[in-house]
Symmetry: C2
DNA sequence: GACGGCATGTAAGTCGTTACATGATTTG
DNA sequence: CAAATCATGTAACGACTTACATGCCGTC
């Protein structure tokens, strides 16, 4: 069973309790989405594949006449999740247009560069705000998900302070 | 002229001076690659497209019998780069398997979780080391590229300290 | 009864990487 | 002279997103 990008997300989410594909998507969008997104186009086909592989089991649990399949981890699925968790692979990919613009900001005059840094800071402030929204939800659960949330909050804070510092330096230069 | 992902990289790199596609790729791999990668499969077709659009101009500059095309920005290309730099778009995408594993680390026992955090720290230490390698090169140029490099260094440092703190907490728990 | 949310699913398209092909030049 | 590097290019593949299709349910 090859793992695709969405595989560990599904196994991990199902370990927190039985869920439908729709439930998984909604939870991902409030949690891992900040560092690991997942779309319907990945989730639904992968649920089928994981069931065929025996890592999860689906059970029909309709709401009235509306069909709904709730999946849960099998022991094999639990083992596969654990294996992935302790495996050495730790891929990291970043695509940050703010950094890219800043990298080329020598092509801007000081006022424009200052505007850019302010815009970058605003982006991180939005990020912090979005994380703050889900903070109370994560706090009551505690554990590692909450640990990761606070890490993300601190990360945004780090960038915001870095922006503010750079802004001060650019403002200082402007007075010359 | 629609911008693709690789467009601003090429325009930005050419603004630093005339270069071949090969030069661009090599420079990217030592600089923006940490937050914005680019492959040959993107660079060469895009150079053709940008030339057709009049944003860059290529001139044949062979090394002996080995063909080589050096491109430079046209005024229109310079304008397009500037327009992109001051545009509000600031996309941000992160795919961090370390965070994902940590998010699901409640499925691990303390010793395994500790191992995971140590592995995550090791990853950031490698990142810091790779940036340190190019630091002297960037330092002499100074300007915004150096600014971004130091930002990256500080970012890795931030994560390393965060890991160390979490490791201490997990080690403390283990003694119980 | 219209609209938003629940629920599943897929087709088409975008984007990017990998791997290879080709051939010249430099270096040990 | 073999291997590494310079240099250009593309075909195939893989991964993910977007958009849509379908239909049920609750509520205003």
């Amino acid at each position: 069973m090859e793992f695709s990008g969405v595989t560990p997300v599904i196994l991990g989410m199902l370990r927190l309790g039985p869920r439908s594909g729709y439930d998984i998507k909604r939870f991902v969008d409030k949690s891992t989405r900040f560092f690991w997104a997942a779309s319907y186009g990945q989730i639904y086909p992968e649920l089928k594949r994981l069931e065929r592989a025996g890592l999860i089991e689906g059970e029909s649990d309709p709401t009235g006449n509306r069909r709904r399949v709730v999946y849960k981890l099998t022991p094999a699925g639990e083992a596969a999740l654990h294996e992935w968790l302790v495996s050495p692979s730790l891929s990291y990919e970043l695509r940050d247009e703010g950094f890219l613009k800043l990298f080329f900001a020598d092509a801007l005059d000081r006022a424009e560069a200052l505007e850019l840094v302010r815009a970058i800071r605003a982006g991180y402030e939005r990020g912090r705000a979005r994380l703050s929204e889900v903070e109370p939800l994560a706090r009551e659960r505690s554990g590692f998900p909450y640990e990761v949330l606070r890490w993300g909050l601190a990360l945004n804070q780090f960038h915001i302070e870095r922006c503010a510092e750079l802004e001060r330096r650019l403002e200082g230069e402007e007075e010359k």
